[in-house]
């Protein structure tokens, strides 16, 4: 297909696709596209978890003081998304009721079998523990202040540990730090492992690639940080608080570097593919210029990577010359574009990897309905769900009224300055 014509043809809509849904030869069994949007959503959500956690760890481990205002928000975001991460996986199974078998009889040579363990480790040993240490003091204060169910909930979460002497708080602080230090490799593990699920499939030249876990990790960092930028601004706007300029500047900086590394690694991947020019290269080139033109070259590369890279790069190079309000616009809009770009990247990996035949002789087309297990609605719902969970978490754990005089430093949005 002529690459220039492709967008036009794609815009011509489903009618065209249905008519030419198979091009060339695909193995008969490959006509059924197996993994659908749910599997696109799954790595997207886990990526956001890993990225948000890394943003939080910048405060704890690397002592980036300016980011303190988003510390708690980032952790809660990671939790909200982590809670929802297994859902798309579960829904896509042919037999969800058998999913427990992955835990009781894991097949150790399968990367997918590790999901339960990696997930449980990350949830229990890292995120919940870190949150608990971070919040212990406030929970005690809140449980005394609040009545009713909310107060009861806080009391339950203290797990009965009500000691808030300076020595105990000091211990909390130290524990948090240690957990975060363990947490960083764990976050890498969580998402690198998702990349490995794809990277380990040597049958598929679009997936089977040593760089895959690395690419997944850095795109996860970019997307998670971008999410923190967007959420922080939205929360400030919602609560009518001024944003902390220094904090946003710092987030913008890290976002820029994460995106830069991500871009470099993905560029390296393509460079290697084009140079090594293995058997599959011609089919992959056709894929990029044809069926993936819009999502890969337009959305992921141009809108989701190059544009924000330029914009964020400008804020880094000409920091002083761009007025604060405009810088903030740039951060926000770039973050938004990055979020869309990374979603497109997940799409390109998961769906793109199934659009060409392993015979390397033809292409299939992905058709997606609105309803049903593999439809738009369920996937959209699963992307929105973590935001609802986050809303509840923020209401519970990021109250507008801080828990005490020295909790101000970690409240959601202190006044600028």
């Amino acid at each position: 297909m002529d690459p220039l014509l492709t967008p036009v043809v794609q815009a011509a809509g489903e009618a065209h696709h249905l008519a030419t849904s198979i091009e060339g030869y695909v193995y008969p069994n490959e006509q059924n596209l197996l993994w659908s949007v749910l599997i696109v959503v799954y790595p997207y959500i886990t990526g956001l978890v890993a990225g948000a956690f890394i943003m939080a760890s910048l405060v704890r481990v690397f002592n980036v003081k300016a980011l303190t205002p988003v510390y708690r928000l980032a952790l809660l975001t990671a939790l909200a998304f982590l809670v929802c991460a297994p859902l798309p996986l579960l829904f896509h199974l042919g037999h969800p009721e058998r999913s427990f078998q992955v835990m009781i009889t894991p097949h150790t040579s399968s990367p997918m079998a590790m999901f339960g363990f990696v997930y449980a480790w990350y949830m229990m040993a890292v995120l919940l523990l870190e949150l608990w240490c971070e919040y212990r003091r406030d929970l005690v204060v809140w449980s005394e202040r609040e009545r009713g169910l909310k107060g009861l909930l806080y009391r339950v979460i203290t797990l009965g540990v009500r000691d808030i002497s300076p020595a105990a708080l000091h211990l909390d602080e130290r524990m948090s730090r240690i957990i975060t230090v363990i947490g960083i490799p764990s976050a890498f593990l969580l998402h690198g492992y998702v990349g490995f699920i794809f990277g380990s499939i040597k049958a598929n030249p679009w997936w089977g690639n040593v760089l895959m876990p690395v690419i997944f990790i850095f795109s996860a960092m970019a997307s998670g940080m971008a999410l923190c930028v967007v959420l922080y601004k939205e929360l400030c706007w919602f609560r009518r608080r001024a944003v902390d300029d220094a904090c946003l500047d710092e987030m913008g900086k890290f976002l820029f570097y994460a995106l830069l590394v991500d871009f470099t690694v993905e560029g390296l991947d393509w460079l290697h593919r084009l140079y090594a020019a293995e058997e599959s290269i011609s089919v992959l080139k056709q894929l990029a210029q044809g069926r993936l033109f819009n999502t890969l070259l337009v959305i992921q590369l141009c809108l989701g990577t190059l544009l924000p890279l330029l914009a964020l790069g400008a804020t880094q190079l000409m920091h002083g010359r761009i007025p604060v309000w405009f810088r903030q616009r740039i951060y926000y809009n770039s973050a938004f574009l990055i979020l869309i770009g990374v979603l497109a990247m997940r799409w390109n990996v998961v769906i793109g990897g199934q659009l060409f035949s392993k015979s390397l002789r033809g292409f299939a087309t992905f058709k997606m309905g609105l309803e049903g297990q593999e439809g738009w609605l369920l996937s959209a719902g699963l992307i929105l769900l973590p935001f609802l969970v986050l809303g509840v978490l923020v209401w519970l754990f990021l109250p507008e009224r801080p828990a005490g005089p020295d909790a101000k430093k970690t409240a959601a949005a202190p006044t600028a300055g």
């Binding site: 008969p28 009889t105 894991p106 079998a113 015979s359 002789r361």
Partner: protein, 270 residues
């Protein structure tokens, strides 16, 4: 540091390591017991998979593309009727005459498999005089010695049987589809009725009872040759096939070590 403490620690670490080593056989035994309890195949009681090693050979030159094997397989194994589900299928390769005076020794390659070849093949759309050569290639599970599908299955529902068959336990499969992605040959599909992974089992219910796979049974030209390496018979067709032919496997660069051997295939076959 206090020396008593270090000694105690060392002892602790040592006993931990010993405990770990000691617990491994137990864990393995437990896992094997659970698998025996849970895994199921269609073999009769008393069949010992360690006493056989099954092998399939295919002589491409003999295949006439009649599609009887595809039909037999669909019926024998209740494969879904739709034209996108096959445990075995036939591909037709049409290699065109190269452009006169051009650089290529062989022209474009056209591959097709209408309804998996089940109803035979209509005449090719390429006019006769433009065809350099044309041939049929029967495809099925390649019985990989290092099967990526079994490696990938998160619950062990797909497993390598010691007799060389790679089987799916549909009562244990969770329907994740990872094995389907991992198979380089497109041999697997997710059965839309049972929602579990499915593939050629060499007609396990037949071969474990002394019969031949349905496709082998019906092939009128003996393009498919089936045998047991551990129990060769007189004038064993498999032994003869390997002795007389130059044999190939599909996608050897992937290191799957297929045990389905092909004779007389061309470089275009993938």
């Amino acid at each position: 540091m206090n020396p008593v403490m270090t000694r105690r620690r060392m002892l602790g670490a040592l006993s931990g390591a010993l405990g770990w080593i000691a617990s491994r056989p137990a864990a393995h035994a437990a896992k094997a017991a659970v698998q025996n309890l849970l895994a199921s195949s269609h073999a009769p009681k008393g069949y010992d998979p360690t006493k056989h090693k099954w092998l399939m050979c295919i002589d491409v030159e003999r295949c006439i593309g009649c599609g009887l094997c595809v039909d037999a397989c669909k019926r024998e194994n209740h494969v879904p009727e739709a034209s996108s589900f096959f445990r075995t299928w036939i591909e037709r390769y049409v290699i065109k005459v190269p452009a006169a005076g051009g650089n290529d020794a062989r022209g474009d390659v056209l591959v097709d498999s209408p309804n998996g070849g089940r109803d035979g093949f209509p005449p090719s759309a390429v006019p006769r005089e433009e065809i350099l050569k044309s041939f049929f290639v029967p495809k099925l599970c390649n019985l990989c010695e290092h099967s990526p599908c079994a490696q990938a299955c998160p619950v062990g529902a797909t497993f390598d049987s010691p007799d060389g068959a790679v089987l799916v336990d549909s009562t244990y499969c969770i329907g994740c589809g990872f094995c389907i992605q991992a198979c380089p040959y497109g041999c697997r599909f997710l059965n839309p009725e049972t929602k579990t992974a499915e593939k050629c089992s060499l007609c396990y219910h037949r071969i474990t009872r002394g019969l031949r796979p349905a496709c082998v049974e019906v092939c009128p030209t003996q393009a498919r040759i089936f045998g047991d390496l551990k129990n060769p018979v007189e004038n064993d067709p498999v032994q003869e096939f390997v002795r007389k032919n130059k044999v190939f496997t599909l996608k050897p660069h992937l290191g799957t070590e297929p045990r389905v051997l092909y004779a007389n295939i061309d470089k275009e076959v993938r």
